[in-house]
Subunit: 299 residues, 2 copies
């Protein structure tokens, strides 16, 4: 079997993904399991890692690099946030050590903290590594990257360094309203009806604020103006529309880095708002970890 | 015992309140029970009413007038919404009959629907009656009334008629985020810390949008910048601040019609935003029902 150059682990809240990479960063083998940090019993992260990639570790001394919520307070060991601006060298300086097996040191990539001129700080954990994984594809200069999701991130990247970012709780607000509010009661299914989605996007550009617009989800349903099966899409469009109305600079091309279905919804929304966008390959975490390899601390 | 002129019933989602009124509208007796429409088993509203005020009904032929969610699809009988503008005479024309006991007709006050120039319709049910109950205290002319709550209502009243209104889901969004989102996990208790509340209000006036500001509840907690016990207040201030930023005309005096504690929070918020306000007596539903009495259909 080809020599391993790096064991790259993308360990998030709900899933575990490990990649065995060669000296060119190509994926030789990979493992995936529903063993996100919240599923690991008794904090036995070392045992879980051993169970998933113990075979790889036994056969090679290649470094182990991990990113994602594994470095959070609820994870293996808390990796303090690194400040912005931050690129590969900055992240490498803040790598957080853990013993992956007794006597064998591995590293957790720190999350980032951004402090704007006012307001509370903003944080990310895991996205910084995905962003480092697309540097090769997008090159230097200034870029605006959107990572849609539970907590969407909008990132300003300047010459390979994260200059700043904002988080929008769009996905989580959608989920709690769908499952726990009166709005969900009139809905059927969870498919995103695209006509409903577009109507929600358009409504988001009216005045009145999102707290007011949300009640319209109910009345549209109550008066039969939007079908129960199209209401989840309407709610999604409403929330994503409000996110877009407030994120980024409103005109730069948006590079979308996210899972295919959601990324396409964001692209549709941006197009409807007249904003150019481009989809990036979402399989970026292991590329980001590989890009950090030359910057690893020497023993 | 004094003669009864009206049996006024304020029957909402979570509570039942009945008032025996004399010919001047004074409350002779009242009953209150946690028998909101969602607590009434098998749709037996007639039996519930009989159980609560059967004694009153047996002693007098006075009319029975009801308002609130009792007229909703989930209530006793659906009273179709009356259109705006609507005052006492308009509501009376749309009173919805039900047999409170066999052969004895009672009436349910309709809710209101408002269709603006664009967007979905807006609805209320119960608030229209409370508003009619304050007409005597505020007089003719133009008034802006805020009824804070799960679904806050902002009502434009012109010469005793509801000209239009908007709903903001502030209270319900607070509740689902507090109970079901990641934001609640860092919080302790449910008291509204006033310093936290004020900080939330101030944050709401920054740019970035509420979906972004919400994430700051988490980071303020994560970095220990706001105590766990003050985070519910911060979230409340944030959401009420966003409501105020979008409701009303931004300058008229706001008449606040709501339960004491919440009404005072809204007054505090309005003051911080430089907007004049005045508290109205929230015990208004039975006054509104009494004001409808002269307009009742004649048999």
């Amino acid at each position: 079997m080809p020599d391993s150059a790096l064991f790259a682990v993308d360990w998030g809240t709900s899933s575990f993904r490990a990649y065995r990479l060669d000296a060119d960063g190509a994926v030789i083998e990979q493992r995936q399991a529903p063993l996100g940090i919240l599923k690991v019993a008794n904090g036995d992260f070392a045992g879980t890692l051993q169970g998933e990639i113990g075979g790889w570790l036994a056969q090679s001394e290649a470094p182990v690099l991990m990113s994602g919520m594994i470095g959070s307070r609820q994870g293996w060991s808390e990796a303090p946030y690194a400040p912005c601006p931050a690129g590969l060298a900055d992240l490498a300086r803040h790598l957080h050590p853990v013993d992956v097996t007794p006597g064998r040191r591995g590293w957790i990539v720190p999350g980032l903290v951004h402090r704007g001129a006012s307001g509370p700080p903003d944080v990310m954990r895991g996205e910084e590594t995905q962003i480092m994984g697309v540097l090769g594809a997008i090159g230097a200069g200034r870029h605006l990257i959107c990572l849609p999701g539970t907590h969407s991130k909008w990132v300003e990247l300047v010459d390979g360094r994260v200059a700043g970012f904002t988080t929008h709780m769009t996905g989580e607000v959608f989920a709690v309203l769908r499952q726990h509010s009166i709005l969900g009661r009139l809905m059927e299914g969870d498919d995103v009806d695209l006509d409903g989605f577009d109507r929600g996007l358009d409504r988001a550009r009216d005045g009145g604020g999102v707290l007011h617009h949300l009640f319209g989800v109910r009345t549209h349903g109550l008066f039969g103006e939007i079908a129960a099966s199209a209401l989840p899409g309407y709610l999604s469009g409403l929330l994503i529309g409000h996110e877009l109305a407030n994120a980024g600079d409103g005109k730069s091309e948006v590079l979308i880095l996210g899972a295919a279905e959601l990324a396409r919804l964001y692209q549709r929304a941006l197009a409807r708002f007249g904003r150019p966008s481009r989809l990036l390959d979402p399989d970026a975490a292991h590329r980001g970890l590989f890009a950090l390899l030359p910057h690893l601390p020497k023993d």
